[in-house]
Amino acid sequence: MNSTLKTVLVLSVIALFAGLALGVVYFFTKSESSLPDAAALNALAPADGYVQLTAEGATQLEFGTLKSVCVPVDGNGKAVSDSFIFLADGNGGFSGTISMLVLITDGKIANVVCYENGETPGLGTNALTDTYLSRYIGIDITNDVVLKGLAKDYWSKPEKESGHENDAIQIDGYTGATRSSTAVVNSISTIHSYYVSNAESLLLQLNKLK
């Protein structure tokens, strides 16, 4: 009994010190900027650099979470166009949320790429193909009919309860991946809701960079 107790004690103490050491190192190495990965940003909107904006207001929204906002800048750190890059997690994926990186220029969606997802390759990822994502390009970000978020149980509820029988006419893309595409819609819908309620603060920050 005594030796068992000693074993447990020694292992616990070692684990405790290990955890402590990891915590200290994490504190010093955690990245200060929450800018998305540079390679992904470059694929979305090639630029010399990116400047992070402060996301004011609520970022935890009904259909997802806004992760970060930044603007593409030239070599002198000046914003050259009325562009924002949003990163948002959309609820409702098959395995966790789906993160979409969206470029918005002059209030319209100019480019969309998937940033992170855990969807099944070849099945869920059908909702992340260029062909499907390119359907979002050109949509006005303030358009709340097209960019409406969907609740998690939206497609599993009876038609009358969720009201999706009325949405049938709005379907203009088919991916074969219901839940994954729901998460994509939700991610972009999150950006839409955030943009609509915080446009002023965002434009103010953008103009300061000009």
């Binding site: 030796s3 000693k6 074993t7 020694v10 292992l11 070692i14 684990a15 290990a18 050491a21 990891l22 190192v25 994490y26 190495t29 955690k30 990245s31």
Partner: protein, 207 residues
């Protein structure tokens, strides 16, 4: 144990790659370029020194029946620290080493040195052994990396050498096996010749 012999053992006599044939998986996988081999070697050296030191300091405290669990915890801690530091300061190398960086936790060289050396030697000797074994591993990996990079891409540490048509097979897994095998054969040939000579010298001395 003499300090000199510890260092000689780690680098030459017990060279982890060519004599003990430990840690073959990362050896073959990351040595497509010299810089990757060097980085992997240095990463393992860091973990070896630290884990050997701690394991040796704790050797009287750790109960015998859970020693492997204790060693793995110590090793995993240092590997995770290394990962966090590399991710922040050396993101390119971090990406190049990929999965083989976290897999250092189960690298048999480190566990072997903890079990065979650090658990029954003093802290300073153990740290020295970790350093020597690490240097041996680093040198071997860098050598394989240089050969594969020169033959496979015509470059050395990323610098273009201006050689004619490179042989792409050397950066592929097959080329890794070829270079590894050829080097091992060479090391074996040299060492058997040396030991023969030693035997002969010994006989002569007796006569």
């Amino acid at each position: 144990m003499k300090k000199k012999s510890i260092i000689f053992n780690g680098i030459v006599t017990n060279n982890p790659t060519f004599r003990l044939v430990l840690g073959t998986c990362p050896t073959l996988a990351v040595t497509t370029a010299a810089i990757n081999g060097l980085a992997m070697g240095l990463a393992v050296t860091f973990v070896l020194i630290c884990s050997n030191l701690i394991v040796s300091l704790l050797r009287k405290l750790i109960p015998d029946n859970v020693r492997i669990a204790a060693y793995i915890t110590v090793i995993a801690t240092f590997v995770t620290i290394l990962q966090m530091v590399m991710k922040t300061y050396l993101p390119d190398l971090y990406a190049a080493l990929g999965i083989f960086l976290p897999l250092i936790v189960v690298n048999c060289i480190i566990l072997a040195r903890a079990e065979a050396f650090a658990s029954c030697n003093t802290a300073i000797d153990s740290a020295l052994d970790g350093f020597a074994t690490g240097v041996g591993f680093t040198l071997s990996l860098t050598l394989i990396g240089i050969i594969r990079e020169v033959l496979g891409t015509g470059r050395i540490f990323g610098l273009y050498l201006g050689l004619s048509q490179p042989l792409t097979v050397f950066v592929l897994p097959a080329g890794g096996f070829i270079v590894y095998g050829a080097l091992m054969a060479l090391v074996n040939a040299v060492s058997s010749k040396l030991s023969n000579k030693k035997l002969l010298d010994g006989k002569k001395a007796v006569q």
